[in-house]
Symmetry: C6
Subunit: 257 residues, 6 copies
């Protein structure tokens, strides 16, 4: 079943996705600052090019391309070289322009994607779409249309999204993009034993089963690596989990025997 999957090449993540993302789908990666959403996206693009020979695009609405070159370099990924090879393009634009661009026939992104044969795209971040309009109905239509343009071009996309809560449970906020995308990956901070760990959860993967467990992940010199699941904790996604009672019982019961 996974033969037609778009592999992220991220250790542990493809297993959680039962092989990888689905082709021509839009996948949201959401988290607070420092959870390495962009790194995950860059790694998806880099592995696409180097391991699976699929050219990729990075669309940025804030950071200059130089920042991506630098960030990639710290993981040993030579983005400038990939650009020279015609396998990668980092495009800095605005949500308004990239939207108009994709809506018009033969716009920049479309032209580039076709010339390069781009199969993957990282959009960093869709939170910047908020600046197009304050009307939630119009915003949803814009995002939906943008996302579908990417699919129409045959690309599998990772869309990053900024989450405003550092630690603690999510609050009810406008989350329409979560309904529009095909895949939804949550990144969260979790406090455990007086330290902050990072947690990843695949919430949704339209058209496929996926791992349901909440996994730790770390940033290694080679990029993101998915670790084991959390054990013996309740309320992980609240950011401040409790030890589970059974762990307590197991430890406590012993001396009495």
């Amino acid at each position: 079943m996974s033969s037609d999957r778009v592999k992220t090449g991220i250790k542990g993540l493809d297993e959680m996705l039962l092989g990888g993302l689905l082709p021509q789908t839009a996948n949201l990666v959401e988290g607070p600052p420092g959870t390495c959403k962009s790194t995950l996206g860059m790694q998806f693009i880099y592995n696409g090019i180097r391991t699976y020979n699929e050219p990729g695009l990075i669309v940025t609405f804030e950071e200059f391309p130089q920042q991506y070159y630098r960030d990639a370099e710290s993981f040993g990924w030579d983005f400038r070289q990939l650009e020279r090879e015609g396998k990668l393009r980092v495009i800095m634009t605005s949500p308004e322009v990239s939207r108009a661009d994709l809506e018009s026939v033969g716009g920049t992104i479309e032209t580039l994607a076709r010339e390069m044969g781009a199969r993957r795209i990282l959009v960093d971040s869709v939170s910047h779409f908020d600046q197009i309009t304050e009307d939630p109905v119009e915003l949803r239509a814009v995002v939906y249309s943008f996302v579908n343009s990417l699919k129409r071009e045959g690309m599998t996309s990772i869309l990053t999204r900024e989450s405003p809560v550092l630690l603690g449970a999510d609050e009810a906020e406008d989350n329409t993009i979560g309904f529009v995308v095909d895949g939804y990956i949550l990144l969260r901070y979790v406090e455990i034993e007086s330290a902050i760990r990072k947690a990843l959860l695949v919430l949704k993967l339209r058209g496929s089963d996926h791992a349901k467990d909440i996994r730790q992940y770390e940033i290694t010199p080679q990029g993101i690596e998915i670790m084991s699941r959390f054990e013996g904790r309740e309320g992980i996604m609240s950011g401040s989990p409790r030890r589970m009672a059974d762990v307590f019982v197991e430890a406590f019961g012993k001396p009495l025997r």
Copy 2:
């Protein structure tokens, strides 16, 4: 009593509904992204056609029909074939149009429903009605009127609704549609043992008793399947349940005997 029920054909759900939905009623299915509200609705329509020989309509306000064909296909449901057989129609429209349509004599939905002899309808999703008006009083009147039009046409409807909270307790928000519908099914994420499970609860079924327990459900290659109830947990609907004290006591008490 269940002889006149509109069976969903979803394993376990009809039992929870003591036979099925009630004929000519509107039934809300509410959940956050990835809880498979649309899948539940499509399965209701598919089973209606294939198992109970009741033609059905799908009204969508955002996704293109192609997306439904594709999603259905992943469960082995051939929606194109059903359309060719005249048993199914997937209609993409806007809330404004479908509302006007149903209010007028001989509108598209009415005409189609009569021609096809449609007995079931999936409206995906009523959250899009928010775009008609910002006035909650008017919105309620619109939804009420739309829902009654469906009943008047003799159809049993499933209305999906997007819930903005991913995990955690619901907050007080405008919930007037919950008062307007006849049936109300909640889908929620629940974190248990470091993984995310899905939970289903029948909150309301006007004119009938129903199961009160909170059940796990899973997405199988054949669609949604209702599993056993949760055991030994408190606060499931908060999304982050606690182990119950009696479980603790049972485990703890033993070594002392």
Copy 3:
């Protein structure tokens, strides 16, 4: 003392009210969707007619009378027959009209109430008064005036009110009607042992003592029935109660003896 009470005839509820509601009072019944506020009100009206020979009115601001006939029928209450006997009238109106009506001499409700000798009235629901004005001060005056008109006509009223929170603690919202009414009954969902139960609490009964405990209730084929109180739980009204420590202690202490 209970000889002059207006009995609801609902099993267990009159006992909680130490005999019944007080004559010529306004009584609020508040709850989220599916807690059967309307059923409680209809049962109050039905029992009034059949058991206590007191004619009754039902004023509805949204549902058509047919819906009430149908809902009543599912409990074996023949509302059409009661209407034919001149003992019941189901009136569909708007808050604006019914307010003007009651304020004018010889309005519809007043005339009907007098002709029929109506002693009881169900107003379903006062939440619809929100559509009259957005000014909370004016709204309060309108509700106060409406409620007093009903009393002046000699009727004992049940006013239903929609609560927006499905599960979980109430939030601070405008609750002025709670101060205006004479009686205040809360209906709530409670999650216990992985299932959802319904809870009823009499919060206020001006001019009389009343039961203070929180009781379970169920919908039987004969209507609402009040069951036993909850046992061994803390935080019931939060919707997600905890097992109480003493229950724990009792269970735990035994093996050690």
Copy 4:
């Protein structure tokens, strides 16, 4: 020290106040619907007249005097008789009028208070002052000025105030009146052992010490009666207290000895 106190004559409350309220002070009594704020105020007025021979005024901004006569009657207090004796006046007015009245020389309240020699006044409720202005700064000035007028007339006042939260912790809301008054009594609902009790707390009593404990109170046929303090509970003022650990320990420790 308590010789110059203004005794409420309410069983248990004067003890909590170390003798009673302080003369010529304004005292806030705040609670959700059904906690009998008005009853407490009427009892203060009634006992003032009958027990301490101090004439009293009741100023109401919503309820008709008849409602007070009726409510008082249910406790055996004959308010009509007291009015005939010239010891009591129940005045229905509006916040605007009573404010202007007190500000002008020889206004109604001032004249009445002097003619009757009124020493006590119940203002039911100051929440109605919200209708004068939406500007919190102006509102504070109005309330401050009104409260001082009452003191200037030599009266000790009880001011009732509506609290919007039924159960659960208070939220941050505009609470400037709490800073303006001399005394501040909180009434709250508390859920204990599956029932709802009422709790009273003296938060503030300018110029005097007072009991700090949270007491239960009940409505008896003779009016409000303060009962014992709560025992073995934590978080009472949250409305949903927990059993305290030491209670648990005491119970649990025994079988092991």
Copy 5:
């Protein structure tokens, strides 16, 4: 190090401040109604005059000077006498006037402070500055400028501030004044063993260390007195602390030995 401190003379507080406040600093005292912020400030002024021979000013934006005389009297502090001696002045003004006053050369406060040789000032309360402007940026500039004027005049100030939450955790609100001041003392209510205690915490003391523990305090006939710290409680500043597990363990462990 404490030789140049401005001693409050309040029993236990100077120890917490490692000698007293720092000269020519602004110190915020924040708390809900009834926590005796003004008393703390008056005691600071009174002790300054009587014990340390430092004249003082009291600036009030709401209460009349008479109220301060009366409140002081209940602690045996004769403020009228101090005024006659030229050691104290209680000035009632408005935030606008006192601000303009301090900004102009030779304004009332400046003149008075110089004539009297005032070294201490109580501003009761800075919450009234909210009435100057609704623009938080302007408000911050006003408060900053006002606070610096006081320092420039060589005075050490206590600024009281009203906290809207009675019990329970603080919510995020505009707290810019907390960043502007040099010292920050929190007063809070804490529920312990079914009673309400008062807690004091020194959060900030620019340029000096200070006690970090949360202390109980009481109002005695001589004024505020700081008591021992709380023991064996978690979550004190939430207003509703829990008993700590180790206390539980200590008590529980014993019978087993």
Copy 6:
């Protein structure tokens, strides 16, 4: 790897940063009043000059330079002397001016930075940027542009930011600056054993690994000092941690052996 780090010289912090901050990066230090954000920044500047021979700038939007001289002095840091040596400049400006300044060629900050050879800059605080515009999109662009100007000038910056919540979990608020910066350090109050401690957490350090544990820190006569991590507590970042169950178990288990 740490050879090219910009060392803060703060005991324990450089170890948490695996050597120090990264050159030419912007680093946010966020905390409530009294957590010594400015001290941390001043210490970074002071150590830069004295220990690492890197000249520094301090840009302040509210406090006068004199305040920094005084605050520094209390730690024995002679800022006036450093200014005389041309190694330090404390500039008081407004966000608008400093922004325009950095955007123009040869503005004050740019000129100063070049003349002095400034390598470090403290911006105290970026919360004042809120006064430039109420439009979050524009604000984000301004902050992003300002931050990049600092990097372009070759400086490593510490940006302080005010956090409105004293104790308790953060709420969802606008946190776009957290996404813009390269480093993100959180300062928080934590209540432990009836006292308030200070906690520091490195949340983000773009391009490098960092310590994940939550550490206590204290203000010593020499400045900030990072202490040991918290032990045996859950929920530290909520401000009100619980004792962990295993600690409980360890203590409790012993007497039974």
